[in-house]
C-alpha cells in the first residue's frame, strides 16, 4: 500500500470508468480525492480504464453500468487479479449499483444467466420480477452498520436508485442500511447495500458520496488507517460542507417532507 499513513500519498482509483460510469458514479472518486486533498493529504486520483492492468490503490471505486459492460468488468477484474489482491491487503473497495452487485458471489447478465462475481461481499443478486426500482431513496444506517471514526453513527443516507436487481445479504456480510423510502436491495428484509471489513456497496447514485459526506469520510478514514490495526478513533478534520448539507436537506425533505426545507431556504438566502 502506498498510502497507509497520513501525510503520504493516498491513491484513489476509479475502476473502469469506460465500462462502469453510466450514472455519474465517477463523481465518488472525485469527492474522495478532493476531500482528502482539501485536508492537506497528498492524493492521487486515477481513472483506471479497462484494457490495461489495474493500478495499485488504497481505495477503489466501482460505479454503476449496463449489463454487458458489468459482465465484462467482472471478468476483467478477476483475470487482472489486482483488485482481489489489494482487498486482501486491506485496500478499501466501494461499489455502487452494478459495481455493488459484481462484488458479490453472483449477479445476472442481460439474459438472466448467473455470472460469477468477485466474491468480496457475501451477497447474491438475481433479476427482480417487477418493474425497475427508480427514484429517490432514503435509508437509515443499520445499528450494526459501519461506525465513523470518533464514534457515533452515520446519518441517514440519501441517493437515487435505478436498478432491476434483487440482492440478498448472506451471513458473511451485513446490510449497510434499512430503507425508509424507496426499494434498496429489494429482498424483502428492507435492507439497502452491504458491507464487510473494508468492502462496502450500495444501490445509491447521486453520486452517493456527494450527498453523504459522512460516508465519504468513513471510507477515507478506512483508507488512511492501518488495515491491521484498530478502526480510526479520530474523526477527520471537518470541512465546510454547507453546500453538501443543503443538498442533503433538500433531497431528504423532497422525500419525507420532514420540514427540513427551512435549512435549504436559509442556505439559499445566505448564498443568494
Amino acid at each position: 500500500m502506498s498510502g497507509s499513513a497520513r501525510g503520504t500519498a493516498l491513491t484513489v482509483a476509479v475502476v473502469y470508468p469506460d465500462l462502469l460510469g453510466t450514472y455519474g458514479d465517477g463523481g465518488n472518486g472525485l469527492v474522495l480525492a478532493r476531500r482528502a486533498s482539501w485536508r492537506g493529504i497528498d492524493t492521487r486520483l486515477v481513472q483506471a480504464d479497462s484494457g490495461r492492468p489495474l493500478p495499485t490503490a488504497d481505495l477503489y471505486c466501482i460505479g454503476g453500468g449496463e449489463d454487458g459492460p458489468q459482465v465484462r468488468a467482472a471478468t476483467a477484474l478477476r483475470e487482472d487479479g489486482t483488485l482481489l489482491r489489494a482487498a486482501d491487503h486491506g485496500a478499501v473497495v466501494f461499489g455502487v449499483c452494478a459495481g455493488f452487485q459484481l462484488l458479490g458471489r453472483s449477479f445476472p447478465d442481460s439474459s438472466d444467466r448467473p455470472q460469477e462475481g468477485l466474491g468480496l461481499l457475501d451477497i447474491t443478486t438475481r433479476k427482480g420480477t417487477g418493474p425497475r426500482s427508480v427514484g429517490e431513496l432514503v435509508a437509515t444506517v443499520a445499528p450494526d452498520g459501519p461506525r465513523p471514526g470518533g464514534g457515533g453513527s452515520l446519518p441517514r443516507l440519501t441517493g437515487f436508485e435505478n436498478h432491476g436487481g434483487v440482492t440478498s445479504v448472506g451471513t458473511g456480510a451485513r446490510p449497510l442500511a434499512h430503507v425508509v423510502s424507496g426499494v434498496g436491495n429489494g429482498s424483502g428484509d428492507g435492507s439497502e447495500g452491504a458491507w464487510s471489513g473494508r468492502v462496502l456497496g450500495t444501490y445509491l447514485h447521486g453520486p452517493v458520496l456527494a450527498r453523504n459526506t459522512a460516508l465519504a469520510d468513513l471510507l477515507l478514514g478506512w483508507a488512511l488507517s492501518d488495515p491491521g490495526g484498530p478502526a480510526p478513533l479520530e474523526p477527520l478534520e471537518p470541512l465546510d460542507d454547507a453546500e453538501e448539507m443543503a443538498l442533503r436537506a433538500e433531497r431528504l425533505s423532497a422525500v419525507d417532507g420532514s420540514g427540513r426545507g427551512h435549512l435549504v431556504r436559509r442556505f439559499l438566502h445566505r448564498r443568494g
Binding site: T22, G27, L30, P69, N162, H205, E243, A246, R271, G272
Partner: protein, 454 residues
C-alpha cells in the same frame, strides 16, 4: 369537423376522419384554455379514437424520421429548411419538440396539404414510427447516456433500433422505393444499429462522447478510438464503415473528393455535424432514384446547403436576447455529451472570460436523476464567473465545488442573469460573440423556464 382539410392525403377512412376532427377540436380547446401549445393533447385524443391514425396520416407522404440523443430538433429544423421551397407547398413537422406519436399526429393534422413530413422522433419510439410511417429516410445522429430513469440504457436502446432497422426494405429492382438510412459512421452504437438496415449512407459527422461505446456490441472486445474519428474493435472486425461523406473542419467532403465549405447560421462543430446529416438526408429526399442506382458520390443538391444556412435559431436555442443592456446567448444542453459539445462551443466562441449562467431542473422531461452532472466536465469553466440556478441549483453548486469552480447560487433564471451582469467585467468579444455577452446554458425545462420569463 370537416374532412376536406385533409383531402390532399386522399380520402380518409371514416374513423380516421373522426379522429382528425377530435385532434383539431382538442388542440383548439387546449390553446384557448391556455393549457399548452396544443399539440400533444389533440394527438393523444386522436389516437384514442383511431389507434391507426398515425399510419393513416403518413400514408402517401414522404416521411423522414430524425432521431438520436443530441441534435434531433436542430437537424429536423435544418432538414425542413433544406426541403422547403423544393418539395411543394409545406412540410409537416413537429417543431414544438413533441417528439412522440401524439406530437407526430398533431403535426400532420396541422399541415394537411403537406406531401412530406419531417418528424423528430424520441429515441424510444423509432421502432413504432418506422412500422407505421414507412419512411423514405431515417436519420440516426448519435446515441449516448440521457435520462436514464426514463429512457432505457444505451445498449438496450441500440438493440431495439437494430431490430427496427432490420425490418426496413431497400429499393427493389421492381422500382419500389425503400428506406435509406443516413447514419453517423463515427458513433459505434449508431453503426451497430444501422448495419442491420439494407441501404445506408455513412456520414462521418463526429462524436465527442465515447464513454458509452467502449465495449464492442458485437463481441467481448473493446472499441479503440483513433485519429479523425476512426474506430475499431480490438478483437473482431467491427470497425467504422467506409464513409460516403464526412466533415473535415468546416468542410463537407464527399467520398469522390468533392468538398464544400459549410457556412451556417448556427455556431459550433456539432451544428456542422447536424448540417452534414441534414444535407445528406435532404439529398435522399429530393432525389428520384432509379432502382438499384446508388447515389454514393453525389454532393448535396444545389440549394440544399444554402437553405440549411438560413436556420439561425431552433426553438430559441442559439438565439440572443438582452438583459440590462448586456447581450445574452441562450444555449440548451441536456446530457453529458450535449454539455461537452456546448463547452466546445464556448471555447470556439472566444476567450474564456464570458460569464456563464447554468440552470438545471430535474422534472420529468429532464430526467429525475441529476447524477449526470458529475459526467459533465464543469472543470472547463474554471476562470469564468459562474452563476448556478434552476430547481436543482444546489446539486449544481456541489458539483461546481468539487470541480473547484467558484460560483454564486441564485434562485430564478432572471435573477441569475442579473447577478451575472453585476459580477463580471465585460468579457472580450470573440468570432461568434459580441463583447460583454453572457452565456446562458440550461437543460430542457430550465431553458423553457427562462424563455417564458423573458
Amino acid at each position: 369537423m370537416t374532412v376536406d382539410a385533409v383531402a390532399s392525403t386522399g380520402t380518409l377512412p371514416a374513423r380516421a376522419s373522426a379522429a382528425v376532427g377530435v385532434v383539431k377540436v382538442a388542440n383548439r380547446l387546449s390553446r384557448v384554455l391556455g393549457r399548452g401549445s396544443g399539440t400533444v393533447v389533440g394527438g393523444r385524443a386522436g389516437l384514442v379514437v383511431d389507434p391507426a391514425l398515425l399510419a393513416t396520416l403518413a400514408r402517401d407522404r414522404d416521411v423522414a424520421l430524425v432521431t438520436g440523443t443530441n441534435g434531433k430538433t436542430t437537424t429536423t429544423s435544418m432538414l425542413v429548411a433544406a426541403l422547403s421551397g423544393a418539395s411543394g407547398p409545406a412540410i409537416a413537422t413537429n417543431d414544438t419538440g413533441a417528439n412522440m406519436p401524439a406530437g407526430h399526429v398533431a403535426a400532420m393534422v396541422d399541415s394537411p396539404r403537406a406531401t412530406a413530413a419531417v418528424l423528430e422522433v424520441d429515441e424510444s419510439y423509432l421502432g413504432q414510427l418506422i412500422e407505421e410511417t414507412h419512411p423514405r429516410v431515417v436519420v440516426l445522429l448519435n446515441l449516448s447516456r440521457d435520462q436514464l430513469d426514463r429512457i432505457a440504457e444505451v445498449r438496450m436502446l441500440v438493440d431495439r433500433w437494430r431490430s427496427a432497422l432490420a425490418g426496413l426494405s431497400g429499393s427493389s429492382d421492381s422500382g419500389a422505393r425503400g428506406t435509406v438510412v443516413v447514419a453517423n459512421a463515427d458513433d459505434p452504437m449508431v453503426v451497430w444499429a444501422a448495419l442491420a438496415a439494407p441501404d445506408v449512407r455513412w456520414v462521418g459527422a463526429g462524436q465527442v462522447w465515447h464513454d458509452d461505446a467502449v465495449g464492442c456490441p458485437a463481441c467481448s472486445g473493446r472499441i479503440e478510438f483513433g485519429a479523425e474519428g476512426a474506430w475499431a474493435c480490438d478483437r473482431c472486425d467491427f470497425a467504422r464503415p467506409a464513409r460516403d461523406a464526412w466533415l473535415e473542419g468546416a468542410d463537407l467532403v464527399i467520398a469522390d473528393g468533392a468538398r464544400q465549405v459549410l457556412t451556417l447560421g448556427l455556431p459550433g462543430q456539432f451544428n456542422r455535424a447536424n448540417a452534414a446529416m441534414a444535407a445528406l438526408a435532404a439529398t435522399e429526399m429530393l432525389t428520384s432514384r432509379t432502382p438499384g442506382a446508388a447515389l454514393r458520390t453525389a454532393l448535396p443538391l444545389p440549394g440544399v446547403l444554402a437553405r440549411l444556412a438560413s436556420v439561425d435559431q431552433v426553438a430559441g436555442r442559439f438565439s440572443s436576447t438582452v438583459r440590462r443592456g448586456r447581450p445574452v446567448r441562450l444555449l440548451l444542453a441536456k446530457n453529458p455529451a450535449g454539455w461537452t459539445a456546448i463547452f466546445d462551443l464556448l471555447d470556439e466562441a472566444g476567450p474564456g472570460d464570458a460569464p456563464v449562467v447554468l440552470s438545471v431542473n430535474a422534472r420529468v422531461a429532464d430526467g429525475l436523476d441529476t447524477s449526470w452532472l458529475w459526467d459533465v466536465p464543469f472543470e472547463r469553466l474554471a476562470g469564468r464567473s459562474v452563476v448556478a440556478t434552476g430547481d436543482r441549483r444546489i446539486d449544481l453548486a456541489v458539483r461546481l465545488r468539487y470541480a473547484e469552480v467558484s460560483h454564486a447560487v441564485v434562485d430564478g433564471p432572471l435573477a441569475a442573469l442579473d447577478r451575472a451582469v453585476g459580477l463580471s467585467d465585460l468579457g472580450t468579444a470573440g468570432p461568434d460573440r459580441g463583447p460583454g455577452t453572457i452565456e446562458f446554458l440550461g437543460n430542457y425545462t430550465a431553458f423553457a423556464d427562462l424563455r417564458r420569463q423573458l
